[in-house]
């Protein structure tokens, strides 16, 4: 009984520690004050830049990452383990280093010289670079968790590889893919280090919400609180969506491996 009480206390302390800072953002200033700040041009511009670059980056990740993940999940080839490790490289790279690396590769005097440095395209590239492993590894797990016999059955029923993928594999992996996308989106939205190195922090062009929070920090604290509030709301929506997405897949599939897929890779 005493041991149980100790554990319970630990849970309460941990929850308080994790939630208090989040709550503090909303109670530090009056809510109406926060809402007023949303019409502040710096906040508005940062919001638009963040949304635009995030959506573009996630589209890029989805279009390239999905077929790549499917190939990795369904084929055994020499060097497969190496490919999986390399895909996850940006995950362990410090974001600032990733930014410098992108500059060294795609900057004006980089390995592949381009003029995208310090433009909005650079923000998109930085976000895609840093966030993609979260989607790809989750997508690989989701595809691995779908029963290969179902794809085989579709083929024997007359469906070619394309129809098999879109009618059978994709719907079954949908929950896991959505979960991966939510994680990747959340990571991309919070991107700071790589973006500031590779794209700078120019209002209306490359200044995303996290960069604007840093820029406004010593000038307009209320604006930083408002932007933080926006990011928190988006995070909560993503977290809830993630739970629903995985729950959907669990109750709709005869296999229970989708949840395992997530826990094994994140």
């Amino acid at each position: 009984m005493r041991w149980y009480a100790v554990c319970l206390a630990a849970v309460v302390v941990a929850l308080a520690f994790l939630l208090l800072p989040v709550v503090a953002i909303f109670v530090h200033t009056s809510p109406s004050h926060l809402v007023d700040q949303l019409s502040n041009p710096v906040v508005r511009d940062a919001f638009v830049v963040s949304v635009k670059t995030s959506v573009l980056a996630q589209l890029l990740i989805l279009i390239v990452g999905t077929p790549a993940a499917y190939l990795i999940a369904t084929h055994r080839f020499p060097g497969r383990a190496l490919v999986i490790t390399l895909v996850e490289l940006p995950l362990v790279l410090p974001p600032a280093v990733a930014g410098i690396a992108l500059l060294a590769a795609f900057g004006r005097y980089g390995l592949i010289g381009t003029s995208i440095g310090f433009t909005q395209t650079a923000v998109t590239v930085a976000v895609a670079y840093v966030a993609s492993p979260l989607y790809v590894r989750q997508a690989v797990a989701a595809f691995e968790a779908t029963d290969p016999n179902l794809a085989a059955a579709a083929r024997t029923l007359g469906a070619g590889p394309g129809r098999t993928f879109f009618r059978v594999v994709l719907p079954l992996a949908r929950g896991g893919l959505a979960a991966g996308l939510a994680l990747s989106f959340a990571r991309g939205l919070g991107e700071f280090g790589a973006t500031i190195m590779f794209a700078g922090s120019l209002q209306k062009v490359t200044q995303t919400l996290p960069l604007a929070i840093y820029a406004e920090f010593d000038q307009n604290f209320d604006a930083t609180l408002a932007m933080s509030g926006v990011l928190i709301v988006i995070s909560i929506v993503l977290l809830v969506g993630l739970r629903i997405g995985l729950g959907w897949q669990r109750s709709n599939s005869t296999q229970s491996s989708s949840l395992f897929g997530l826990s094994a890779s994140s």
Partner: protein
């Protein structure tokens, strides 16, 4: 009906190389122990696995011919029913059947008595219902060949008997070559008119189920078809078992042999029998196991199959002494399995 032909099909598997030549018209059951390569044969025929050599075709058309033809699964008109049925969990019963082909969906739903389940998802169906959906889906493809992988293995004992009878009826009505694989000889005998025993990738024996029982090629086939297999040394019409028992056989033999005695040829009694049976084994009853209206009685090295009624009349119980007797003509000498 165009026959399915497998001509010297070769497939390297983990422990051995599968080599098979078959012509299937009617219903053919490939039986054998787990890991004999049975499912691999179905994967080769359906195009999910690529053989190393040989030819697979239907009628005159080649589906696979080493070196120059290898049609993908979607271009072979083949209906494959997977062991676990592989129904699409995200589609309804109707959508599952439609996936195979839209032309005869309503007819198939009616014929397989799944019309009332048309809007249900497979997760909510019983084993027998799932199998009917899988069969309907495979036939919706309008196949030239039907392949069944362990069609009864996923079912519990009770459902199994019912589904076996249903399947028997269905296969008899189909005008298609059917190739089914199973590890259960009884299922094979019930469903197929020809049975091939596959061991380590090769056909050990091929024939009607009754032929396999009447003249098993070797001890393996004998035990697979349900016989008691006893090993001993033959000296003419006498066979000496290691425990000292001497059994009489009808056809003389010499050296190490195996004897096959079918349980239904063995009589059980409480006293030393005085009849034409030359072979008598005496001992305590080792076990009694009932299935349906029949009882298996194990005495010494043999088991007998008798009716539950006889078992009750004799008052048999485990541990009590009894006699098992069988005629020399029912004691077949077979080759020791290689």
């Amino acid at each position: 009906m165009a026959a399915l032909e497998l001509d010297a099909v070769e497939l390297p598997l983990r422990a051995f190389r599968l080599e098979l030549t078959l012509a299937v018209s009617g219903t053919f059951a490939l039986v054998g122990p787990s890991g004999a390569g049975k499912s691999s044969v179905l994967r080769c025929v359906s195009g999910l696995a690529r053989p190393a050599g040989g030819r697979i075709g239907v009628g005159g058309e080649s589906w696979f011919d080493a070196g120059h033809v290898n049609l993908p699964p979607e271009r072979r008109r083949v209906g494959l029913v997977f062991q676990d049925y592989a129904l699409f969990p995200h589609l309804t019963v109707r959508e599952n059947v439609e996936f195979g082909g839209k032309a005869r969906v309503e007819e198939l739903l009616e014929r397989f008595r799944i019309a009332s389940l048309a809007d249900a998802r497979p997760g909510r169906l019983s084993g027998g219902e799932r199998q009917r959906v899988a069969l309907a889906r495979a036939l919706a493809r309008d196949p030239q060949v039907l392949l069944l992988d362990e069609p009864l293995a996923a079912l519990d004992a009770h459902t199994r008997t019912i589904v076996r009878a249903e399947l028997q009826e269905l296969l008899a009505a189909l005008d298609l070559p059917v190739l089914l694989v199973t590890h259960d000889f009884e299922d094979a005998a019930a469903l197929a008119d020809t049975v091939g025993v596959l061991v380590d990738g090769r056909l050990r024996q091929l024939g009607a189920p009754s032929d396999l029982v009447a003249e098993p090629a070797d001890a393996f086939v004998a035990s697979f078809t349900g016989a008691n297999v006893l090993h001993g040394v033959a000296d003419g019409t006498r066979v000496h078992l290691p425990d000292g028992t001497v059994l009489a056989v009808a056809e003389p033999a010499h050296g190490e042999v195996a004897l096959a005695v079918y349980p239904w040829d063995v009589t059980v009694g409480l006293e030393q029998p005085h009849d034409s049976a030359l072979n008598v084994v005496r001992g305590p009853i080792r076990s009694l196991s009932a299935f349906g209206s029949r009882v298996r009685v194990a005495i010494g090295p043999v088991s007998a199959e008798i009716t539950a009624e006889s078992c009750e009349r004799l008052g048999l119980s485990v541990g009590s002494p009894a006699f098992a007797s069988f005629k020399a003509t029912g004691t077949r000498v077979v080759a020791v399995a290689s």
